[in-house]
């Protein structure tokens, strides 16, 4: 890092900057910390500084069969949706990045509509279609509705990633006699892997967070955690929501530590340049 000078400033300004960052860190962590305290609170009435500690709400939440079932469903459906999305979107992204075909730009842009149109007005139509296809209250239906949320990430980020790969590398492989598929799997894919991982990560989070569509398509037998979350957070005593929140965030935070390395590398941004 030869450009460290840009940030290497004098003591006072450095201290001010550091203070600002620590304040920001408190802003980020504070709410989560409060939640963590609430999760272990038997009860917490003002003006006590700390709650009266108890694990009773954990037993309450974990002892609830519906909750454990929802946790299982979330961890089955979100990865399935992510994988399905990868299978159909990565070839499409490759096409967007490398092939010239009519309407390429418009089609690429059209995927933005999956995130920009308020879905609340669309659910009756979507559900009618899924009823006709016999996909209501099925695992496949839940996966499908979650895939919709992942499309934007799974198309745009890999498109950017593929575009960033030097064509000469692929052409060199073709020159020594490798077929197009072999070139893709042995040359392009390994280079693109980190970018694809970032896309997978975002797709997973988008699928994992889907609530309203899953509620319509998945009930009564395929309920995921986010579907239960509104109910748990809003209508149970506060510690219940907190316990559930901690349960729901922990796996994601583990994911964060794993994915951290790739997140900073810039694949995310590459995807959004047209």
């Amino acid at each position: 890092m030869s450009v460290g000078w840009y940030w290497a400033v004098g003591g006072l300004r450095r201290a001010v900057a550091l203070g600002a960052f620590l304040a920001l860190a408190a802003f980020i962590l504070g709410p989560l910390l409060t939640l963590l305290l609430w999760a272990f609170a038997g009860s917490w009435l003002f003006p006590n500084l700390l709650p009266e500690f108890s694990l009773k709400w954990w037993a309450y939440v974990l002892g609830n069969a519906d909750v454990t079932k929802a946790i299982r469903m979330s961890f089955l459906s979100a990865p399935a949706a992510t994988l399905l999305s990868a299978v159909i979107c990565i070839p499409a992204a490759y096409a967007f990045a490398r092939l010239e075909f009519p309407g390429r730009r418009v089609l690429l842009l059209s995927f933005l509509s999956a995130n920009a149109f308020p879905k609340i007005g669309l659910y009756v139509s979507i559900a009618t279609l899924l009823y006709r296809l016999n996909l209501m209250d099925t695992f496949a239906g839940v996966v499908l509705i979650q895939v919709i949320n992942t499309l934007l990430f799974m198309i745009w980020i890999p498109t950017g990633t593929f575009r960033g790969i030097n064509r000469n590398l692929e052409e060199a492989a073709r020159d020594v006699g490798a077929g197009p598929l072999r070139t893709f799997f042995q040359v392009t894919l390994p280079i693109a892997l980190p970018g694809l991982l970032v896309a997978l990560l975002f797709a997973f989070l988008a699928a994992f967070d889907e609530a309203q569509g899953t509620l319509i398509v998945g009930t009564p037998n395929h309920i995921t955690m986010p579907v239960m979350m509104y109910t748990l957070v809003l209508s149970y005593p506060q510690p219940v929501g907190a316990v559930f929140s901690v349960l729901l965030s922990l796996p994601s935070l583990v994911f964060l530590l794993v994915a951290q390395r790739y997140l900073r590398a810039g694949y995310l941004a590459a995807g959004y340049s047209l």
């Binding site: 450009v3 460290g4 840009y6 940030w7 900057a17 600002a20 980020i28 504070g30 709410p31 989560l32 409060t34 939640l35 003002f46 003006p47 006590n48 500084l49 999305s85 070839p91 499409a92 096409a95 967007f96 092939l99 010239e100 075909f101 390429r104 089609l107 842009l109 059209s110 509509s113 149109f117 308020p118 879905k119 609340i120 007005g121 669309l122 139509s125 979507i126 279609l129 919709i148 499309l151 799974m154 609530a211 986010p226 979350m229 509104y230 957070v233 929140s245 729901l248 965030s249 994601s252 964060l256 951290q260 997140l263 900073r264 810039g266 995310l268 941004a269 959004y272 340049s273 047209l274």
Partner: protein, 282 residues
């Protein structure tokens, strides 16, 4: 010639599966929705904008639209002002601390918004954690930080920082060290380097970040629903109320189309600016 036609066919074939999903599950239902809002009253024919006129004639709806735009713009601006220095810091600072901070600032990305809102309330509400700590320090008066626009902005900012930092940071990462060094060599100071090298070279990622932040915050429901006040409300909440509480489905869908139009307009600005830039560089 045949080669490019084959390429075109292959390209379309590869794009087709996700496109079909999009068309059947989003585009067609959306077109149906738009047509419904334009449908004339029973008996008449042709298309009419009467529903839009009716929805927009309600003062309270107009207030909610304005409120949504203002809250979104303020949130985007705040995210931008906090994220840019952070991205710069993570790009240029050395040592262990930046690595730790980098992890820290990505955390909100992994916290579902329902939980983020809930956490924010327990943290900021009067007699919540902060106010209880202040109370014990002898400070009794506490400003209302949640259940109003402030709460929405704070929570939106909290939830959006990682995304902005990641995109801006990635753009900065892509700028060649040599360029920055040469700026110093010709005697440019930090601010000068920032204004004349970093900012313009990072313009595309910046535009991307701003646009996507706008679209996602403008369209949000959960955060304003949980953390916001009673009135004015953001459009996502108003729409839901019209649908589920006032049982006026036609108006709710009309508002959805209006919201989409606003998001699409912002998206269009982004597309135009990015393509102009691309054309410029080619």
């Amino acid at each position: 010639m045949t080669g490019s036609r084959r390429e075109g066919a292959l390209g379309l074939a590869l794009v087709l599966p996700p496109l079909l999903l999009l068309v059947f599950l989003i585009v067609l239902p959306a077109i149906t929705a738009v047509l419904d809002t334009l449908a004339p009253p029973p008996g008449a024919s042709g298309l009419t904008l009467a529903r839009y006129a009716q929805v927009l004639s309600a003062r309270i709806v107009r207030a909610d639209i304005a409120f949504s735009v203002v809250v979104t713009l303020v949130s985007v601006a705040a995210v931008f002002c906090l994220s840019y220095p952070l991205a710069l810091y993570l790009r240029f600072a050395e040592g262990r601390l930046p690595a730790v901070l980098a992890v820290l600032f990505t955390i909100p990305l992994f916290v579902p918004v329902v939980i983020a809102s809930f956490a924010m309330i327990t943290f900021l509400v009067n007699h919540g954690l902060i106010s209880t700590v202040l109370y014990h320090l002898g400070i009794q008066r506490f400003p209302p930080l949640v259940y109003n626009a402030t709460g929405i902005v704070l929570t939106e900012v909290w939830a959006s920082i990682p995304f902005a930092v990641l995109i801006l940071g990635a753009g900065l990462q892509a700028i060649d060290d040599a360029l920055i060094d040469s700026a110093r060599d010709v005697g440019a100071g930090r601010l000068r380097t920032f204004v004349s090298i970093l900012l313009p070279l990072n313009a595309t990622p910046t535009m991307i970040a701003l646009t996507l932040l706008f679209i996602s915050i403008f369209g949000s429901f959960t955060i304003p629903y949980l953390v916001g006040g009673n009135a004015p409300q953001m459009l996502g909440v108003t729409m839901t109320n019209y649908l589920t509480q006032y049982f006026r489905r036609a108006e709710a869908v009309t508002m959805a189309v209006i919201a989409f139009a606003i998001s699409a307009a912002v998206g269009a600005v982004y597309v135009v600016s990015v393509s102009r830039r691309e054309r410029g560089t080619v």
